[in-house]
Symmetry: C2
Subunit: 518 residues, 2 copies
């Protein structure tokens, strides 16, 4: 059922529940059992673990540095095997019952099972690979993992992978080791599944999960404690993500049977030859209305379901409490939203709309100055973000059918990337409630989005056959993922938690979830 | 007046004159004065000069090698000044009355005036710069100018500039020196204007002409003897060329005030932001009909005049005599003409149609694999070939007006290249007749096109204020201009003339023109 833009917007404010939630703020979504907070999050166990973390902070920093100094750049095939092996060793040191590499058609994954005989078992995802880097541009070598001041923080670790995400991975293991040191065992059992190609779009991650799918079914949640504060100390939660379909379209004279066949030809020949570049323009033009905000591919909206009541409540609250901060980091690069929408409307569209985006387009001569050629081919990369219940393969098939029906059957369409599906978890899930209770303990009201506008492999846990609720959260901050001088804050300030508080919040989340009533 | 495609095609065969010409072949266009050939082209003077060339061939080859060994790569600024100076020296050795560099805002031009007191003065264009090269790919170093066999030729010179066009330049000077050695002076006076930036699109050549425009007005023709045979020994003549308008169009979020403003943004933002790439697609789409063979820019065809009767006669003859050979060199790269036209129709369209071609298009991520961005800008290069009476600036203004009237006033349009205008010379001009008479002497029937589908600066001579008839032609062969192993044939075979015959045909053309009745 296609939901028209008008219908979308008219939903806003319709629901009495949504209006009520908006007034109360996000803690209205938390149904903390009576006495829960003081019983568990203020328990002597948790306090002892926190104290242990404080006492062993230098050692914890050292372990993070050790892991960051082991390169694991998947696109350069640099240090991948060594890093995977190091991760297996970490799991063994944690006294995991199982810890081994998982061969795939690409880089190895890692599987580990920590079984402390707890009642609940959670699933945990790690990625151990990183983006590449240009060392010359960095203020501190990206593999040195040096500690340095970086205003407004007195101490951060600067390294490739510092925040995305080898630093937080090792911080989580530090937190687990602290619990085991104090208590002898963890409050939950954990099944770890780890990806060595996340930065390549996780093309083989399903091969990591496949051998363990049946065993993963005993998990009750997919829990990814992670430093989630921005520079101002604010926190956002996304209860899922959109799917993504990513294709490359190529028009070639050879496949078309028209225009230049094998190589570019002198541009004067446009008088007597068709042009693959013009054909690409014509084909793309059929896909969108003039404002490029209404996709014209037949059936493209059909699978979309309207927002749920919970999503409406979350959005209403988000708009009421966070409207002014929702797009703070994007202001510099944005002057006006599409259709001159208000921030409120933009929040809704960002959450609920499917998209069709040209990530890149190219053909012919693209250098400086003049070359007079009629190119023999032209291509573009297109991604489409998918919302419930659009499926990657279904939407790809609609694009293919559209091209065929509009006379463009010669256009080659190549699927790129793994094609992550959309993912959704209810705010009412105990795992989410546990994270909310931790935020409440620290006095941080999170901005909760029904889903991220981006994509991730999370659906491999949240959709059949596993159907796990998934949530991420925690204190701490780092930034510049994929960029120069990537960092992870070690010593916090009055707004942002440092490493000790980051690890403590991870401990809190595990104890909160372990003790949350089913 | 816009001439519709249907009107164009219906002209074919309409004219009795055209049909008659077609039967007779191109020598029907030659009105040789009675006894002219035996009187002049077989005169003892010409024969003595030919013999001199045969006797001094090794010396002539050496002079060509000397000139080719002096690099003059304009895009690398390599050897430009030295080569220009060498050219001035050559003119001084020829006992030119004037020979000097002409400063421009770019590379210097060269002016020279040979005044032998002859009745007629001709204008001659030289370019002394060359394309760059990648020496590793060559079978013989591109600056060594070695002699080598290259099947089916027993001896060629391999060098950058061998055929385009320092080899032919020096061959012409060799021919002039031979005449002077035998006769003491040339049969015509010559004004030389030389370009050091032809490979850059001659951006400053008007500054070379400007100081000499008034003096050039005493010329009666612009005569460029040049080796014109293909590998099969066949010859084509183009009695002019199309003009060219070359622009770059750029859509940017910044100028548009919409979409990403300063840098690419995460592609998930397509849900709430407009896209400059889609805007470029939309803008381009307004310029052409679906088949990209009818330009939709208002008024774009208005200035076009129908083919003249002479052009119709030439085309009819071309189709009758050369239809099968007209596109021989393009067969490998072409499967079907636009609209499935016949070769006859393609010849007409190639000659008479204006065009709109995308030479290149680019935006966003164009590398391998996946990047999920919404680009902040996108651009393309467009060239349009112009026929009488389209003017470069007029057509550019129509494109600009089209964009503005279709709501794309934010799209930046940058003019690239000098913008050569169309050029046209009548086959009846004595200069053209002279060249035809030389071809007849050697038994070669040329394929005469009313104009080339490409462009050149020739209009700077043929249109006001100079209004000179322009023609090029001569025996000899070379190829691979701009490519690896560029060559110029020194020792010909049964189809193609070698250097001696090339220089002799240049001598013939000068004597034929000098003696042609006004």
């Amino acid at each position: 059922m296609a939901l028209s833009r008008k219908e979308f917007l008219s939903l806003s404010g319709k629901s009495a529940l949504a209006a009520q939630a908006a007034r109360l703020g996000f803690f209205a979504f938390l149904s903390e059992p009576s006495g829960f907070s003081s019983d568990v999050l203020e328990s002597s166990t948790v306090k002892k673990v926190h104290a242990y973390i404080d006492d062993h902070l230098d050692e914890h920093v050292g372990k993070i540095q050790e892991f960051l100094r082991q390169p694991s750049v998947s696109s350069w095939d640099l240090g991948i095997k060594e890093c995977a092996g190091m991760l297996v060793d970490y799991f063994k040191q944690l006294r995991c019952k199982e810890a081994n590499l998982v061969p795939t058609d690409g880089n190895p994954g890692v599987w580990a099972w920590y079984d402390g005989g707890a009642k609940k078992t959670v699933s945990r995802y790690f990625m151990y690979d990183t983006q590449p880097f240009n060392e010359k541009e960095w203020s501190s070598p990206p593999l040195a993992a040096n500690l340095a001041p970086m205003a407004p923080f007195r101490s951060v670790i600067i390294a490739r992978g510092a925040i995305n995400s080898k630093g937080p991975l090792r911080a989580f293991l530090n937190a687990l080791e602290a619990i085991i040191a104090v208590e002898g065992k963890l409050p939950v059992n954990i099944m770890f599944t780890c990806d060595g190609e996340e930065e390549q779009g996780s093309p083989h991650f399903h091969q990591v999960l496949a051998p363990y799918i049946d065993r993963l079914k005993i998990c009750s949640a997919h829990l990814d404690p992670d430093p989630s504060q921005n520079r101002e100390g604010q926190v956002s939660m996304w209860l899922g993500n959109k799917g993504i379909c990513y294709v490359e379209l190529e028009v070639s004279g050879r496949r078309w049977g028209r225009g230049p066949q094998k190589m570019p030809i002198h541009s004067s020949r446009k008088a007597i030859l068709e042009s693959p570049v013009w054909r690409l323009v014509q084909a793309l033009h059929t896909m969108y209305n003039q404002s490029a905000n209404r996709i014209l591919i037949d059936g493209y909206y059909d699978a979309i379901t309207p927002p749920t009541e919970e999503e409406e409540m979350l959005i209403a609250t988000l708009i009421e409490k966070f409207k002014d901060r929702a797009f703070a980091s994007e202001r510099e690069n944005v002057k006006a939203w599409m259709g001159d929408w208000s921030d409120e409307d933009a929040i809704r569209h960002l959450t609920f709309d499917t998209t069709l985006n040209i990530d890149g387009i190219w053909g012919g001569y693209t250098g400086p100055g003049v070359a007079t050629i009629l190119p023999e081919k032209a291509a573009c990369k297109i991604d489409s973000r998918l919302v419930p219940n659009q499926g990657v393969k279904d939407q790809e098939a609609l694009i293919r059918r559209h091209l065929d029906e509009h006379g463009f059957s010669d256009i080659e369409m190549r699927s790129l990337a793994g094609g992550d599906e959309w993912s959704r978890t209810s705010v009412r899930e105990p795992a989410v409630q546990s994270v909310l209770s931790v935020y409440k303990k620290y006095g941080i009201e999170p901005a909760i989005w029904p889903r991220s506008a981006g994509s991730s492999p999370e659906a491999q846990y949240t959709r059949p056959p596993l159907n796990l609720p998934a949530v991420s959260g925690g204190l701490g901050h780092g930034s510049r993922a994929h960029a120069v001088d990537e960092y992870f804050v070690i010593e916090g300030n009055d707004k942002v938690a440092g490493l000790a508080e980051c690890e403590k919040s991870m401990v809190d989340i595990l104890y909160a979830y372990a003790n949350w009533p089913e």
